[in-house]
């Protein structure tokens, strides 16, 4: 037996919740959220630190509070929710999409939907992804796994800790481990700059006197059954370890904060085009993927540093999904596709979201989100060009890869475009 929904949202974190609520507000009545954990809220539940919501709610909240605020909005909306359930596959046909779901309670079942929002989030890169030499011992965890153990399950993961990578989760966990009584000997970063937010460098490392070793990496992990120590070496400009710079640290735990990967196995299997730069689907200005009626938002689309932006992005996706279902799209998408303009990441830019804009699409304004490839300490100009013509330009006093930027493009600007591509670049 199959049931038919107007919209199914895969993932009950901030992205999925934002999309479902906004779709409801825009007129959909049969919506389902599928979550694989036992409760809604996603990774916010384990991010017990504060600093969330300054932008969206105008106040500083902790992760669980932000999740609570968002789930409160579900109250009385009549949105169906299933937790403890995995989506195994997506099959798209002329009538919509059929999902195969699996749970201990309900077993194996199929559900049909007209539209779909992908909001599966991301996962952490592991030791295997970066290939640290040494023995395969206990005590090597991703920072997020340690965060779940310590903050939700109540297990202490180590006493003498070194953190590899200076991403925000690594910095946050360095502080957390100190507060819980561990000693954090250093935070080691292979790049000559940190990937984390400046406020986290100050409040997590400086506050607790934790050393940040830039241009360094762990070159060996030692131990028999548990980590007994690591060797750290300085690296040269091509990131190769420099001989003679070895220093040993007596630690029992290594926490890895070495990047996040959008979780797109389902997306790939459904035949949706993936952008190798973001690791997420290629999307149009309304967050629709290459497959008709499938939208994507949040960390499954590209890794964000602020949940506030995830909420905003998911609201756009939810609204667009509602308009798709209710048949309010101005023109047939195939016709729009012919008019789509490619947004290209030019010099200095790592990627853009969206990758394609349909000038005749729904959105009056499109925000192009992007990251720069390297830190810029002096003022630079961001320039969006259509051939030789400048469509938009904006000056930034400072930019860093760790902080996502955006540029606003309105309908009027899009109407001026003559070519098929827009190039965004960093210029003097």
């Amino acid at each position: 037996m199959t049931e038919r929904y107007q919209l199914i949202v895969i993932g009950g974190g901030p992205a999925g919740l934002g999309a479902a609520i906004r779709a409801r507000e825009n007129g959909l009545s049969r919506i389902l959220i599928v979550e694989r954990d036992v409760e809604l809220g996603g990774i916010l539940n384990q991010c017990i630190h504060n600093g969330f919501g300054l932008h969206y709610f105008g106040e500083e909240l902790t992760g669980p509070e932000y999740a609570g605020r968002v789930t409160d909005r579900l109250e009385g909306q009549g949105i169906d929710i299933v937790c403890d359930t995995m989506v195994l596959s997506i099959e798209s046909g002329a009538e919509g999409h059929r999902l195969c779901l699996m749970s201990a309670k309900e077993g194996y079942r199929f559900l049909d939907t007209k539209a779909l929002v992908l909001a599966m989030g991301c996962r952490e890169r592991t030791r295997g992804a970066i290939g640290i030499p040494g023995t395969r011992v206990a005590g090597i965890l991703t920072a997020g796994t340690a965060q779940r153990y310590v903050n939700m399950e109540g297990y202490m993961v180590g006493r003498r800790v070194i953190v590899l990578g200076s991403g925000d989760i690594g910095l946050i966990m360095a502080r957390r481990m100190v507060l819980e009584g561990a000693e954090v000997l250093a935070c080691v970063e292979i790049m000559p700059y940190s990937g984390g937010l400046a406020r986290n460098l100050v409040q997590c490392l400086d506050d607790y006197g934790i050393t940040l070793l830039l241009s360094h990496t762990i070159t060996r992990i030692k131990g028999k059954s548990r980590v007994e120590g690591v060797t750290v070496q300085q690296v040269d400009a091509s990131l190769k370890p420099i001989e003679g710079t070895e220093q040993d640290f007596d630690v029992d735990t290594v926490l890895l904060s070495v990047g996040l990967i959008p979780e797109n196995e389902l997306t790939r299997a459904a035949g949706i085009t993936i952008d190798p730069r973001t690791g997420g689907p290629v999307v149009y200005e309304n967050k629709e993927t290459a497959v008709d009626g499938i939208f994507a938002c949040g960390n499954v689309l590209h890794v964000h540093d602020l949940v506030d932006y995830v909420t905003e992005e998911s609201e756009e996706a939810g609204k667009a999904a509602a308009m798709y279902v209710l048949g309010q799209e101005k023109e047939h998408p195939e016709k729009l596709e012919k008019e789509a303009i490619d947004v290209v990441a030019g010099p200095g830019i790592a990627y853009t979201i969206p990758q394609k804009i349909r000038p005749a699409g729904e959105s009056e304004k499109t925000r192009i989100f992007f990251r720069v490839r390297q830190p810029y300490k002096s003022p630079k100009r961001l320039v969006l060009r259509d051939g030789e013509q400048i469509i938009a330009s904006s000056r930034r006093p400072y930019m860093a890869p760790g902080e996502m930027e955006h540029l606003m493009v309105n309908q009027h600007m899009l109407e001026m475009i003559k070519g098929r591509t827009l190039v965004l670049s960093v210029e003097d």
Binding site: N45, I48, E60, G63, P64, N151, L179, D206, P397
Partner: protein, 117 residues
Amino acid sequence: MVKELICIVCPQGCHLTVDEEKDCQVSGNRCARGVAYGKSEVMNPTRILTSTVCVRSALHPRCPVKTDRPIPKKDLLRAMTLLDDMVLVPPVRRGDVVIAKVLGHSCDFVATRDILE
């Protein structure tokens, strides 16, 4: 004494120097907010403290908490010890006071999520 800090008011991250002998004069800032941050950071740095406490729940063994106002930085580790012996019993509601008047300051530890069973 001259202290060096990184301003965290905005993403620019100005490198500030604050001279304690000259009435906490701030330099290296690119805007007025840097002056205010530099002064308070040297004269009385404060932080919101977040952690967890034990809760008698099968599904959620820990309940996240925070100080509802910033507390002096020097008191952070001492405030942590107050949470050690605390055991909550459900239902716990977001905003419930877990420990009132943390170390005599005018702030409380409050729960930051609901734990209903």
